[in-house]
């Protein structure tokens, strides 16, 4: 088992305003050799239908708790120095960001592996739902 000197830093935020350009700013210190980012974006097409926007709804208390647990588990597995998740709620237009995940680690392999693990786990564990709004006015929960 490795011994880490850095403090573990984990941040989870559900936000109802646009995710900024650089929500990962300051995540790394000089012990980090890698920062990896994933940004999920609302796609303007889903199975041939034109998507105008997605509305995200969450069970906030549980979503934050689950996402924090996901970050801590990934940090333990991959020896992350820090990790952040920012996830949108409310209406997100096509082309806008729905989620951002950022991780910092000593080495790139740890950062890449952790990033994928976190994104996949969030989809399984965080109580978040989305309703797609299509051109023409129809909508449906996915």
């Amino acid at each position: 088992m490795s011994v880490t000197q850095h403090p573990k830093r984990f941040v989870v935020r559900m936000v109802d305003t646009p995710i900024g350009d650089d929500p990962a700013a300051g995540i790394a210190d000089d012990t980090c050799g890698a920062v990896a980012l994933f940004r999920g974006v609302v796609r303007a097409d889903n199975q041939g239908r034109a998507v105008e926007a997605i509305e995200y709804e969450c069970y906030r208390e549980m979503a934050e708790r689950e996402m924090l647990a996901v970050l801590r588990a990934a940090a333990a597995r991959h020896d992350l120095h820090a990790a952040r998740v920012v996830h949108r709620t409310g209406l997100v237009r096509a082309g806008e960001s729905s989620v951002l995940v950022a991780v910092a680690a000593a080495h790139r392999a740890q950062a890449f592996d952790a990033l994928r693990d976190i994104v996949e786990a969030l989809k399984r564990r965080a109580p978040i739902w989305k309703k797609e709004f299509y051109a023409g006015g129809e909508s449906r929960w996915l």
């Binding site: 969450c58 549980m62 969030l122 109580p127 739902w129 309703k131 929960w141 996915l142």
Partner: protein
């Protein structure tokens, strides 16, 4: 016992409410409580997506028996990201 039943997204829309106080038998499990709630609201459970449960923000199995004052959430499949 009285529990707080929480609904979100498609389940909230189907039931027309996001939060209800529900009187349930002391030995009723979360699946029975949810089924009774849907029936009382005239919601055909067969039209709902598959769902699972959380109590006080932690996942539980369908046969979990909640306690007085617990928050019981009925959760449709997640779609975050």
């Amino acid at each position: 016992m009285t529990i707080e039943l929480l609904l979100f997204a498609s389940l909230r829309e189907a039931c027309g409410t996001d939060r209800s106080l529900v009187d349930a038998d002391d030995d009723a499990n979360v699946a029975q409580i949810a089924a009774g709630f849907f029936a009382a609201r005239g919601v055909d459970a067969a039209t709902l997506p598959p769902y699972r449960f959380a109590v006080n923000e932690s996942f539980v199995s369908a046969d979990h028996v909640p306690g007085e004052g617990d928050r019981v959430a009925v959760l449709a499949p997640f779609a975050g990201g």
